[in-house]
């Protein structure tokens, strides 16, 4: 019942409507019962076609009747001459056109038209293209018609160039035409292919698109279409699969390997391990959630002693080499090597992607710096005229982030604050984006200090609403996120080396996410909103937890709450009073 206004009517009008409907109902019931009985008797003839047509004209979503029509046509194909058939199909196209004029958004009608075109002896594809033009003139956003157009284009071998021209004509008519911009994003990689570019489109072609879309947002700066398209043009590089970190915990015999991209070990993918050149066999991997699904982090256990028994000699008090390799469909995808010292409890290493100023710059944009700089200048111009345009401000932020996040750091933060004021409905989006940028800057800083293992991270008082990229923080042993605005810790399962975690003064209501952290010893949760022992139950899965700070949480304000916690976390020291 889309877009049907409720109108008050008089008793008289209601009575008239009731009578009219009663009559329609009678006709409808008579027609449908006849249709069903004919179908049952296998009478797939022109009369059935006619009857179905009567009902469908008013009720085009009655999908079964379109099916009956198809069956009739397939039957008639056996007995009619090509000319007779062609005429029948032409009449069908005419009928369909009238149905579409009444209801241009009926899935069944459009699909039936595809069937007719594919089944008739002599289809006129170009006429159909013209029909699409007409319908798109009437409603330039009708996605059914756009999809039908793509079907026709494919069948009629219309060139992508011609279609790009068509999209251009729609855009020249009205920049605010999301469907046309979308179409361009599909056509450009066909017309200007460049497999070296992440979007598959050559640089020259992209530059022209920049110009076009700039025209769009200078004409109508509040229109979404232009901005979404512009964001696409800014590009997004594909991250290559690589090993992010390897960690070997000798006492437990645990090896964890983290990758930059998700992988599902088990089916076509495997992680092979070699110890001083000898392969380790029968290794079972589970992801950070102890499951088998896609993840970036994979963990295995092995016992050093039986492991020696199977023939690999571990030189005591010396070092050995562990080689890690990800193999998918028998092809090596990436590999890494780490030296393990026999006396070292935890040997670990992380790798920084080479050749990038920031490991996140590729994700932000793959376009040349020169182009991005020009874009930033254009946007800055626009911002001078349209001071309150959130789209321009956001785009400027993204451009600065892609260009040089360190240089523009202060300006980016100022603009993100401005966005929160300009676009209040989406304030949480901007807060999360800000949090993301803060964590990315911190990881970039760690990457720059390549000599250090970077095992501690401290981001207190930063207004963080979310911990982004925890999957890259697998080697952290100490993390301080106190005095932020975190609402949950759902992504913390990746922090497999973490010993100390400070989450005091946040907005947590649960610890869900802090599960199976094998090194975690101390957690500070003071001044959060944890209200029941159950909200802490997850911590039972952290075997080495020794100390838990819970000052200022509702759960410890009552004796029963504290007792409940002690019951589920026996042996853990619960701190409920501040030390000062």
């Amino acid at each position: 019942m889309h877009g049907r206004l409720k109108v008050k009517s008089t008793a008289e009008q209601q009575e008239a409507k009731r009578k009219e409907r009663e009559k329609k109902l009678q006709i409808y019931n008579a027609a449908t019962s006849k249709i069903f009985s004919k179908k049952k008797d296998g009478e797939l003839d022109e009369e059935l076609l006619h009857l179905c047509g009567e009902v469908l004209a008013a009720n085009p979503d009655f999908y079964t009747l379109w099916n009956y029509r198809k069956e009739v046509f397939l039957e008639l194909r056996k007995s009619k001459s090509p000319t007779e058939l062609q005429n029948l199909f032409l009449a069908e196209l005419f009928f369909l056109e009238s149905c579409l004029r009444m209801n241009p958004k009926s899935y069944g009608t459009w699909h039936h038209r595809c069937f007719v075109m594919d089944t008739m002896p002599d289809p006129d594809w170009l006429r159909e293209l013209e029909l699409c033009n007409q319908f798109l003139k009437y409603d330039e956003r009708n996605f059914h018609c756009w999809d039908y157009r793509r079907f026709i284009v494919k069948r009629a071998n219309v060139s992508p160039e011609a279609e790009l021209d068509f999209s251009m004509s729609k855009i020249s008519n009205n920049f605010s035409n999301y469907s046309s911009w979308h179409y361009r994003s599909k056509l450009l990689p066909l017309i200007h292919p460049d497999s070296g570019q992440p979007m598959g489109v050559s640089e020259d072609a992209l530059l022209k698109e920049y110009e076009l879309v700039q025209n769009g947002f200078f004409t109508d700066p509040d229109d979404q279409s232009n901005w979404f398209y512009h964001r696409w043009l800014m590009g997004r590089g594909e991250l290559k699969q690589a090993v992010n970190s390897v960690s070997v915990f000798q006492p437990e015999g645990r090896i964890s390997v983290s990758f930059l991209r998700h992988v599902q070990v088990g089916k076509s993918a495997s992680i092979s391990l070699e110890c001083d050149g000898s392969p380790l066999k029968n290794i079972k991997w589970l992801n950070h959630e102890n499951k088998e699904g896609h993840s970036t982090l994979w963990i295995t256990f092995f016992l050093f002693i039986p492991f020696r028994l199977i023939g690999v000699i571990l030189p005591i008090a010396e070092s050995w080499t562990l080689d890690v390799q990800l193999v998918i469909n028998n092809l090596s995808v990436c590999s890494a090597q780490i030296q393990v010292l026999a006396e070292e409890k935890n040997s670990r290493k992380r790798w920084v992607p080479s050749g990038l100023s920031s490991r996140f710059s590729q994700e932000m944009s793959s376009v040349k710096a020169e182009t991005l700089q020009q874009e930033l200048e254009a946007i800055t111009q626009l911002m001078e005229v349209e001071t309150d345009n959130k789209w321009a401000v956001l785009t400027a932020v993204l451009l600065m982030k892609a260009l040089d996040p360190q240089k523009h750091e202060a300006e980016i933060m100022v603009n993100l604050d401005k966005l929160q004021a300009l676009d209040f409905k989406r304030v949480e989006y901007y807060k999360d984006l800000r949090s993301r940028f803060i964590v990315e800057a911190a990881i970039d800083a760690m990457d720059r200090e390549s000599s250090s293992l970077a095992t501690t991270l401290s981001l207190p008082h930063r207004g963080l609403t979310k911990l982004y990229h925890s999957e890259l923080l697998t080697l952290l042993t100490s993390l301080n996120l106190s005095d932020n605005q975190l609402r949950d810790v759902r992504q913390f399962g990746f922090l497999q080396s973490l010993r100390e975690l400070d989450l005091s003064n946040n907005c947590l209501t649960t610890c869900h996410g802090l599960q199976n952290l094998p090194c975690l010893e101390k957690v500070v949760l003071s001044n959060n909103q944890l209200s029941s022992p159950e909200s802490l139950a997850t911590l039972q899965t952290c075997p080495y937890l020794k100390q838990l700070h819970l000052v200022g949480n509702p759960v410890v304000e009552q004796e029963a709450g504290l007792e409940g916690i002690k019951e589920i976390l026996p042996g853990v020291e619960i701190i409920t009073q501040s030390s000062s």
Partner: protein
């Protein structure tokens, strides 16, 4: 020339509180007027309609008002020899009505009332070499059907019968420049399809294919000044998108990116205080479809009067838990 932004203005006298009981009464009465014009004219979507109504009743905590055995009997009578269900007795089987049938039976914990083995076989037979699914034997392909297929089979605990890798590959091939999804490869993004594709990836545990920040941004930009959500850029708001957009945001952990208070205001304004039920927009005619999605959206937005709803399968969370279905969330 700038294009004026399409939106509605909420009238000052629009409803501001939830009339839950009226909605339950509206749904209960809807199923009783079997000779009514509206009712007869919508027989081609009866099974979907029953799912909307019954789930609405379940979310309102009043499913027991409906005639369980009559419903199950109807569902049974719509199963065809091939295994699929049609929308009404005598109509043709289709994936859309088959999912509704399986959902209804799950609500009533009555899957054993039909031949589930045949359902599995039929759904499986609709999968194509490229991983896509036909809606029925006539060959229409749509990501809606990919969702229907995996949702059906996960409710029947038989997901492994499908070629999941291929099915996922097809859905991912429908992802667009904006990070959202369309009906088929090349089709424009649409919130309804986004829900189907995100839901499909949740059922199959492949949500890592989604760029959650990019998609989340496109989804939260569906919110208009009125508070309502539209389905695509430059379109009018509609209560059903409150569901498609919100459920998708919930699955990818970005629900907080919309202004909840403004959205609640919009949804409440679409109620009809006289008759009960929700319309697409304030002042329009109500129907069971918008009534379910209005209630389900309010549930996701934290309204405690409505039972917690599962964002992937749009059924009460308690029924999904009882059914023991595994779903992925970011």
């Amino acid at each position: 020339m700038g294009t004026p932004i399409k939106d509605v203005v909420i009238p000052s006298n629009a409803p501001k509180t939830l009339f839950l009981q009226k909605h339950a009464d509206y749904i209960a009465a809807y199923g009783e007027k079997k000779d009514d014009y509206e009712y007869v004219m919508t027989e081609f979507l009866r099974m979907n309609g029953m799912y909307w109504g019954l789930t609405g009743m379940a979310l309102a905590g009043q499913l027991d008002r409906m005639d369980r055995s009559e419903v199950i009997c109807f569902v049974q009578s719509c199963q065809h020899e091939c295994g699929g269900f049609s929308c009404s007795v005598g109509h043709d089987p289709h994936l859309l009505s088959t999912l509704s049938a399986v959902q209804i039976l799950t609500l009533y914990n009555a899957l054993d009332a039909v031949n589930t083995e045949a359902v599995v076989k039929w759904v499986k037979s609709l999968q194509q070499a490229d991983g896509s699914f036909y809606g029925d034997k006539w060959g229409e392909v749509d990501t809606r059907f990919s969702f229907c297929a995996v949702a059906c089979l996960t409710l029947l605990h038989r997901l492994e019968e499908l070629d999941i890798d291929k099915a996922v590959e097809f859905v991912v091939s429908c992802m667009n420049f904006d990070g959202a999804f369309g009906c088929r490869p090349g089709s424009e993004s649409h919130s309804g399809q986004v829900y189907c594709c995100v839901g499909m990836l949740s059922v199959t545990g492949h949500l890592h294919h989604i760029n959650a920040d990019q998609l989340g941004w496109w989804l939260c930009e569906r919110q208009l000044a009125s508070g309502g959500l539209n389905g695509r850029p430059e379109k009018l708001p509609d209560v059903c998108y409150s569901w498609w957009v919100l459920a998708s945001l919930k699955i990818i952990d970005r629900l907080h990116w919309v202004d909840k208070d403004k959205l609640v205001q919009f949804i409440l304004a679409c109620q009809d205080e006289e008759t009960g039920g929700f319309a697409d927009r304030p002042g329009d005619m109500v129907d069971p479809f918008h009534t379910l999605f209005g209630l389900a959206a309010l549930s996701l937005l934290g309204d405690r009067a409505v039972k917690p709803v599962n964002p992937v399968l749009c059924m009460p969370e308690e029924d999904i838990r009882r059914a023991g279905v595994n779903l992925q969330f970011l």
